[in-house]
């Protein structure tokens, strides 16, 4: 299959979240891991002199770049080419996948090693390469685990966050053909042994890009496992895939973003590896002879011109996922597509037109923990509300009429009072317009209804009983 994977439409969002919510082990794994990441982040930011100042600075940088994105991208592309790299502009997911496949084919590649790239998930790259006869091996440990398990990542930076160590040991044992202990050291050693060989055999290395620096054409990758560096230095060809918004103009701007990203993602002041790649290897250097940069639009230009442009300020740290009380109970797969959590609930309906994608902004209680967690201050809850408005405007007449009927009843004090008195306490308790059916059952399946308190507050007041 080439092109992007469609959003998982069946079962529905409710069924997917219900299924995930019923998995106690999944929920325990998520709460534990996201809690750890959240508290590490809090500690890392707490250690800064002026975390809010840094956040404001980063937000200003992102906005400045987005305001003149085409220009910044042109500058980046010019500098990458000046440094000896090749730039491919991809309007669609399929264009991007085709560009990577074409590079692989031109080298007769049989094996590609990849470091983590959510953009590659977005364009369905692994499937496209495999369709073209290229074996793809994920080399980020978490990403490799989900690949071996034939799953998809459930988190932007921690792909296997939904699995605990025993589950991982079981999966890797099937690869090993022998039982492996659920000991992180042993499992990592096994993975290292398996992956090292593949780095040496690979014909092509594929990476994402955390930031492109326009001033020098430098591609920046942060990682903790060293796989990113091997992917970008051992095979003779390096293809970097970058969402078009992932750029800064200057190194000074990069410095701010690099201070934020690891702190927000994992609570680290800096990751173990920060790779700065400017062009292919020189004649006297070791490294890839060819560097290709694929710049992915795939709907981003449309977002840029819309009321949802702030979503493009995202630096993919995953902090909003860790903070989100919905994500923490249902995990990433319940969102049905590549990007989960609050940022996924915003990006997915913007990048995918399917009806199912448009449901995702409902996967939020609008608690704004995402906004609080976001290192660049994206008001995700406002964007979710905006997307709900967009859906409502395009929704069928049924819902609109029901809301209109409710609003007519509740816009006159007399009819509002009459409706409160007429409604059973159960209807009132559901906190929902009585004209929207089915809500009571959905409430009472897991929760008791409040006991009746008798007259309404206004009746008590009018009776002089207060």
């Amino acid at each position: 299959m080439s092109g992007p994977q469609p959003i998982d439409t069946e079962p529905s969002l409710r069924r997917r979240t219900a299924l995930a919510s019923s998995d106690a082990r999944l929920r325990a794994n998520l709460v534990r891991a996201s809690g750890t990441l959240g508290s590490r982040k809090a500690a890392a930011f707490g250690a800064l002199d002026d975390p809010e100042g840094l956040r404001h600075q980063a937000r200003a940088i992102r906005h400045r770049v987005l305001a003149r994105l085409p220009e910044v991208l042109e500058a980046l592309a010019d500098r990458v080419e000046a440094a000896g790299g090749r730039v491919h502009w991809a309007s669609t997911a399929a264009d991007a996948a085709d560009a990577v496949v074409a590079v692989a084919r031109s080298h007769g590649a049989r094996l590609a090693v990849k470091s983590k790239s959510m953009a590659s998930e977005e364009i369905g790259l692994n499937a496209a390469l495999e369709h073209a006869g290229v074996e793809v091996v994920e080399t980020d440990l978490g990403e490799w685990i989900v690949q071996v398990a034939e799953e998809t990542p459930s988190h932007i930076i921690v792909p296997a966050i939904h699995r605990d160590r025993a589950q991982i040991a079981r999966t890797l044992s099937t690869v090993a053909g022998r039982p492996l202990a659920d000991d992180p050291q042993e499992l990592a050693a096994f993975a290292r042994d398996q992956l090292r060989r593949r780095f040496l055999e690979a014909d092509i290395g594929i990476s994402g890009v955390n930031f492109g620096v326009a001033d020098t054409g430098t591609l920046v990758l942060v990682s903790n496992e060293g796989n990113g560096r091997m992917v970008t230095s051992m095979p003779p060809v390096h293809v970097a895939l970058m969402g078009m918004e992932r750029v800064v103009q200057t190194w000074a701007e990069l410095e701010v973003m690099l201070a934020l990203l690891p702190r927000a993602a994992t609570g680290q002041a800096i990751t173990s590896y920060v790779s700065l790649i400017t062009g292919p290897a020189g004649r006297l250097e070791e490294g890839p002879e060819e560097l290709h940069l694929v710049i992915l639009d795939n709907g981003r230009s449309d977002i840029l011109g819309s009321e949802f442009a702030e979503a493009l300020a995202c630096i993919r740290c995953g902090a909003c996922l860790n903070a989100c009380p919905v994500y923490r109970q249902v995990g990433g797969h319940a969102y049905g597509w590549v990007y989960p959590g609050p940022i996924g609930a915003v990006l997915t309906p913007l990048l995918q037109s399917s009806k199912s994608a448009q449901q995702l902004p409902q996967a939020s209680s609008l608690c704004a923990a995402c906004w609080e967690a976001c290192p660049v201050g994206i008001p995700l809850q406002d964007l979710l509300l905006g997307l709900r408005r967009r859906s409502a405007a395009g929704a069928g007449a049924g819902a609109r009429l029901a809301w209109e009927a409710w609003s007519r009843l509740w816009s006159r004090p007399a009819t509002y009072q009459a409706s409160l008195r007429a409604a059973s306490v159960a209807d009132r308790a559901a906190g929902s317009p009585a004209s929207l059916p089915g809500h009571l059952d959905r409430w009472s399946a897991g929760r008791d209804l409040p006991t009746a308190e008798g007259p309404t507050f206004r009746q008590l007041w009018d009776q002089g009983r207060i």
Binding site: S411, G431, R447
Partner: protein, 257 residues
């Protein structure tokens, strides 16, 4: 600060938890306010706003805006963080989106006088002792059986993050001598979220369970909050699980008998 406090009871208190309104009135009177009811109000429109239904939300909010303006008063008191948020944070945007810039300006002006209950109380001189006075009896409110043990405060999200009211409720409880324990899941959403609770009920219940497990672990006997809606969510789930927890609005804990 004293004077006339206009009470916006909110639809949830009006229809489902009138005793929260009663307690709010008693509490405000005990703190020296003359209390008036904003009679011509209905709902803040938040259910429709959160559903993306701007016209329906504006239609309802318009009524309540006019009702609150008409009621006057020195301060408008809302015993619900979420409804106070709707008025102060979202009404101006709502009316602008509905093509009513005049109403948006009126909402901004009104918003200056709108206070969530604990926010108002925290700005006042130390209050009267809580109902029952002695620690351990602090949760004895109107019409409720006494239950021994400390309270744990649940921070509701809108008021915490959109209005930035974080410490005020705890300060007010502590100032009144209510025995209180720390909440291990402070700041985590209860899973209500208005229609979210019925759109994705299983996720909503899982979220409630996470918060409730924290409340049980805290050792508290009573969960106190500033939003009746969040409390309905937590209480509904706790009852289904037969958890030994009582649920009280801040006003019910603090109001004199």
């Amino acid at each position: 600060m004293t004077g006339t406090a206009v009470l916006f009871p909110t639809c949830v208190v009006d229809g489902v938890r009138p005793q929260v309104g009663v307690a709010t009135v008693r509490l405000l009177r005990a703190r020296g306010f003359r209390v008036e009811l904003a009679r011509s109000t209905t709902c803040c429109g938040q259910p429709a706003w959160n559903a993306g239904q701007v016209d329906a939300a504006a239609r309802v909010a318009r009524t309540t805006l006019a009702g609150l303006e008409e009621a006057g008063g020195d301060v408008v008191v809302v015993p619900a963080g979420s409804c106070a948020t709707m008025i102060r944070r979202f009404w101006p945007e709502l009316f602008r989106l509905a093509g009513e810039p005049g109403a948006a300006e009126r909402a901004e002006a009104l918003g200056q006088r709108v206070r969530e209950l604990s926010e108002l109380l925290a700005g006042l001189p130390a209050g009267l002792p809580a109902a029952g006075a002695a620690p351990g009896q602090a949760d004895r409110g109107p019409g409720q059986a006494a239950s021994a043990g400390p309270v744990v405060y649940h921070r509701s999200c809108h008021m915490l993050r959109e209005l930035g009211i974080a410490e005020a409720p705890e300060q007010v409880l502590d100032g009144a001598g209510v025995e209180r324990v720390a909440n291990p899941t402070a700041g985590t959403c209860c899973g209500f979220g208005g229609l979210f609770a019925v759109k994705l009920p299983e996720a909503s219940v899982a979220m409630a369970d996470h918060v409730l497990d924290g409340c049980v672990a805290s050792g508290a006997a009573t969960v106190v909050g500033c939003d009746a809606s969040c409390l309905l969510q937590l209480e509904g789930r706790a009852r289904r699980r037969r958890l030994p927890l009582a649920f009280r609005h801040l006003a019910e804990v603090l109001a004199p008998e």
